[in-house]
C-alpha cells in the first residue's frame, strides 16, 4: 500500500529528526561548548576530569534524555486517552493522575521528605488517583467513558484542592516557593538516577500501548459497536488506563506537572498521519519527545537561571493549539 510506505518514510524521518534535535540540544546550554567538543566528548566518555566532559555526560545528556522520555510519555498517553475517551479535547489530566501525583509531591515537600521518598509519594498518589476513579465508577455500578471522565474531573478537583491546602499550610518564605516551583515542572535537577526511574515505566507502559495500538482503534468506537465486534471493552480499557497512569505518574514524579504537551502533540500527530492509532501512537511518541527537548532547550538557555518548563509549554502550547484548531478545520474541509 502506497500510504504504508509513505508512513514508514515519515516515521523514519521523525526518528531521525528527533535524534538530530537531541544532538543539537546537547550543544546548547549556559556553559559554552562548541558542538565539535560536544561530539568529541560523546565519543570519548573516558576523558579525564574535564568540566566539559562532565557537562556533557552528567548534566546535559541525562537532561536531554529525561526531557525526551517525559515528552514522549505525555504525547503517547495523550493520544491514547483521546482515543479511549473518544474525544480529541482530552488531556492526560483527565484521569486525575496528574492532580494526584501533584498532591503527592506537594505533601512530600511540605513534610520535608528526601528526594527518593518524594518521587515515591508522587508516583503512588498518581496511581492511587486512578484507583479512586475506578472506585467511584464501581460505586455507580457503571463503567462507561462518561462515568470515568466525570470521576476523573471530581478527583482532579479534589486533589487540586488538597494541593491548595498544602500551599496554604506551608511557610510562605521557606516552603511555599519550593512547592510553587515544583508544581510548574522542571528538568533542572535531571540526573541518571531519575532517568532510570522514568525510563522503566515509559518503556514498560509504552511497549504495552504500542502492542495494543490497533486495539485502541476499537476502543474509540461506540460501546455498542465495539461489543458487537467482539471486543471486551472493560478489561481492555482498564489495561490501557493503567498504562497511561504509569506513564503520567512517572513523568510527574521526576519533573513535576507539565501541561499542554499531552493535549497539543496528539493533535499535531493526527494532522500528520491521521486517526489510525497504529500510526498515531508512534508519531505522538516521537513528536512529544522532540517537542519537550526543544522546549527544555528554551527553559535552560533563555535566561541565566531556570525557567519552569510548565510556563513555556503553556505559552507555546496555547497558540500552537489555536493554530491547529483553525487550520485543521480548513484542511479537513478541502
Amino acid at each position: 500500500m502506497p500510504s504504508e510506505a509513505r508512513f514508514r518514510a515519515l516515521h523514519a524521518g521523525l526518528i531521525a529528526l528527533t535524534l538530530l534535535l537531541a544532538l543539537v540540544s546537547l550543544g546548547l546550554g549556559q556553559y559554552h561548548l562548541p558542538i565539535g567538543d560536544v561530539v568529541t566528548h560523546l565519543l570519548h566518555p573516558y576523558a579525564p576530569n574535564e568540566i566539559a566532559g562532565q557537562v556533557v555526560w552528567t548534566v546535559r545528556l541525562p537532561r536531554v534524555v529525561m526531557a525526551f522520555l517525559c515528552g514522549a510519555a505525555l504525547g503517547l498517553s495523550g493520544a491514547t486517552l483521546q482515543g479511549v475517551f473518544r474525544n480529541p479535547l482530552v488531556d492526560p489530566h483527565i484521569i486525575g493522575v496528574t492532580s494526584g501525583a501533584a498532591f503527592g509531591g506537594t505533601l512530600a515537600i511540605l513534610l520535608g521528605l528526601s528526594p527518593l521518598l518524594m518521587m515515591s509519594s508522587t508516583f503512588s498518589f498518581g496511581l492511587a488517583a486512578l484507583g479512586l476513579v475506578y472506585l467511584i465508577a464501581t460505586l455507580q455500578r457503571r463503567e462507561s467513558t462518561l462515568v470515568l471522565i466525570l470521576s476523573g474531573i471530581i478527583l482532579s478537583g479534589f486533589f487540586a484542592a488538597l494541593v491548595s491546602l498544602m500551599q496554604y499550610l506551608a511557610d510562605t518564605e521557606e516552603v511555599l516557593p519550593n512547592i510553587v516551583f515544583w508544581l510548574l515542572g522542571s528538568f533542572a535537577t535531571a540526573n541518571w538516577h531519575k532517568v532510570m526511574l522514568v525510563a522503566g515505566p515509559v518503556l514498560l507502559a509504552g511497549s504495552v500501548l504500542f502492542a495494543l495500538r490497533w486495539r485502541i482503534n476499537l476502543l474509540s468506537l461506540d460501546e455498542k459497536d465495539a461489543r458487537a465486534l467482539g471486543v471486551s471493552i472493560k478489561p481492555l480499557r482498564r489495561g490501557v488506563l493503567v498504562s497511561c497512569a504509569l506513564l503520567v505518574a512517572a513523568q510527574v514524579a521526576v519533573s513535576g506537572s507539565i501541561a499542554w504537551v499531552g493535549l497539543v502533540i496528539p493533535h499535531l500527530a493526527r494532522l500528520l498521519v491521521g486517526a489510525d492509532h497504529r500510526r498515531l501512537l508512534p508519531t505522538a511518541f516521537w513528536l512529544g519527545g522532540g517537542f519537550m527537548m526543544a522546549v527544555d532547550d528554551l527553559a535552560r538557555t533563555l535566561t541565566d537561571a531556570e525557567i519552569p518548563i510548565g510556563i513555556i509549554t503553556a505559552l507555546v502550547g496555547a497558540p500552537v493549539f489555536t493554530f491547529l484548531l483553525i487550520y485543521s478545520q480548513r484542511w479537513s474541509a478541502r
Binding site: W57, A170, E174, A188, T189
Partner: protein
C-alpha cells in the same frame, strides 16, 4: 543493557575522576548549618550566593569582591537600594535563586563555593554538589538535629536558637571566605550594641508590653519561631501573632481585628503596605490605624524571619525608641545607625522615609 552499564560506569568514572582532582586542591572541611560536612579549597575567591541573608552578611564582612554570582531575586528581597553597598551587583550573573539553579550557568562561573538557604531543595543541593562544587547551607538558626531543613521547626528556646544560630552562621561564612577577624568584629559589635539598647526596656512586664503586628503584603505575617517575634521582644513589645500563628503565614483580617494591635510595623521593602492599610476602610477600626501608628521601618530594621546583625544592633533600638520614646530620650538612633553603616557597609546611612 550492557550499553547502559557502560554509560553508568563511565559517568561514575568521570565523576570520581573529577572529585579526585578536586580533592587534591581542597584542604579544609567545614560543617554547614544543615549539619553537612563540606570540603572546601584552602583559599576561596569565587563565591556564588543564592540566599539574600548570606549576601547581606558577605557585604558586611567586606567580602563582596569575592562574589561572582548572585540570586536573581536580590532586588525583591533586599530592596534595590542594596546596590549602593555593592555597585557591581547590578552587573553580576544570576545563575539561580533560592529554590532553583541552572547548573550550567553555575559551572560556567567556576565558583569555589555556593551559599544556599537551608530550605533550598535537597535535589538542588545534591546536583550542585555532584557537579563538584561545594555547597554551604546557611540557616542562621541552631535547630535540633532532624529539624534542620523543615519549615517551622519546633524550637525549645527560640532566643537561644537564633542567637547561637546567627553567631554560628556569621562565623561559618567568615571561615569560608577567610574573613575570621571581620566575623568576630561583627558578632562582637552586634551583641554588645543590642545588650546596650535592650537594657532600657528589659524590665517591662508582659502585660504592659506594647502589642505589635508585623504587616507584610496580602495579610502575611510572622508568627512564632521567627526572629521577628524576638526582635519585638527585645524592643519591649509583644508580637500579637506569636501566640496562635506558627511560622510565616497568611492570616485573616478578622484575626487582625481580634488582636487589635496598638502598633503596626511594615518592613522597608514593602512601602506600599503602609498606604494600603491606612486607606483601607476595613482596617480603620484597629487601634494602631485609629491612632496613626502604622510605621514603615528603616532599612536596617530587618524584622525578618531570619536575624540580621544590623537588625539586632540598631533595628531593635529603633523599634524600642519608637515604642517607648521616653526611655530613650538621650539616645540618637540615627547616629548609632551611621556608626554601624560606616563600620560594616562603608557608606553613610541615609534615611529615605520617616
Amino acid at each position: 543493557m550492557s550499553r547502559r552499564h557502560r554509560l553508568y560506569l563511565c559517568t561514575a568514572l568521570a565523576c570520581s575522576a573529577f572529585f579526585a582532582s578536586a580533592a587534591a586542591h581542597a584542604d579544609r572541611t567545614v560543617t554547614d548549618q544543615l549539619g553537612r560536612q563540606v570540603t572546601l579549597p584552602d583559599h576561596v575567591h569565587r563565591v556564588v550566593v543564592l540566599q539574600h541573608q548570606t549576601l547581606n552578611l558577605l557585604v558586611q564582612l567586606n567580602a563582596q569582591d569575592d562574589i561572582v554570582g548572585v540570586m536573581s531575586s536580590w532586588k525583591k528581597q533586599l530592596g534595590p537600594q542594596f546596590a549602593r553597598f555593592m555597585p557591581k551587583i547590578t552587573t553580576l550573573p544570576m545563575p539561580g535563586d533560592l529554590t532553583q539553579a541552572n547548573i550550567e550557568s553555575l559551572l560556567a562561573l567556576h565558583p569555589q563555593v555556593v551559599f544556599v538557604a537551608n530550605y533550598a531543595p535537597t535535589e538542588m543541593i545534591q546536583q550542585i554538589q555532584n557537579a563538584g562544587i561545594p555547597v554551604v547551607a546557611i540557616s542562621l538558626r541552631e535547630d535540633a538535629a532532624g529539624e534542620k531543613n523543615k519549615m517551622n521547626p519546633t524550637m525549645a528556646n527560640e532566643e537561644q536558637a537564633y542567637n547561637d544560630g546567627l553567631k554560628q552562621g556569621i562565623r561559618l561564612i567568615g571561615d569560608v571566605v577567610e574573613r575570621p577577624k571581620e566575623a568576630e568584629a561583627l558578632i562582637d559589635y552586634t551583641f554588645r550594641a543590642r545588650a546596650n539598647a535592650n537594657a532600657a526596656v528589659a524590665d517591662i512586664p508582659e502585660d504592659k508590653k506594647v502589642r505589635v503586628y508585623m504587616a507584610n503584603p496580602d495579610l502575611n505575617t510572622y508568627g512564632s519561631g521567627k526572629y521577628t517575634g524576638l526582635m519585638m521582644k527585645h524592643a519591649g513589645a509583644l508580637n500579637v501573632a506569636a501566640a496562635t500563628v506558627k511560622g510565616a503565614r497568611q492570616v485573616s483580617l478578622e484575626q487582625v481585628l481580634q488582636w487589635n494591635p496598638q502598633v503596626i510595623f511594615v518592613q522597608d521593602r514593602y512601602p506600599e503596605v503602609v498606604k494600603a492599610i491606612e486607606s483601607d476602610p476595613q482596617w480603620q477600626a484597629i487601634d494602631a490605624v485609629k491612632h496613626h501608628r502604622v510605621w514603615l521601618m528603616p532599612e536596617y530594621a530587618k524584622a525578618w524571619g531570619y536575624p540580621m546583625p544590623e537588625a539586632m544592633a540598631i533595628g531593635e533600638l529603633w523599634m524600642a525608641k519608637k515604642l517607648y520614646p521616653e526611655r530613650y530620650k538621650d539616645i540618637n538612633v540615627d547616629a548609632q545607625a551611621q556608626d554601624y553603616y560606616q563600620h560594616f557597609y562603608r557608606v553613610s546611612w541615609k534615611s529615605h522615609a520617616l
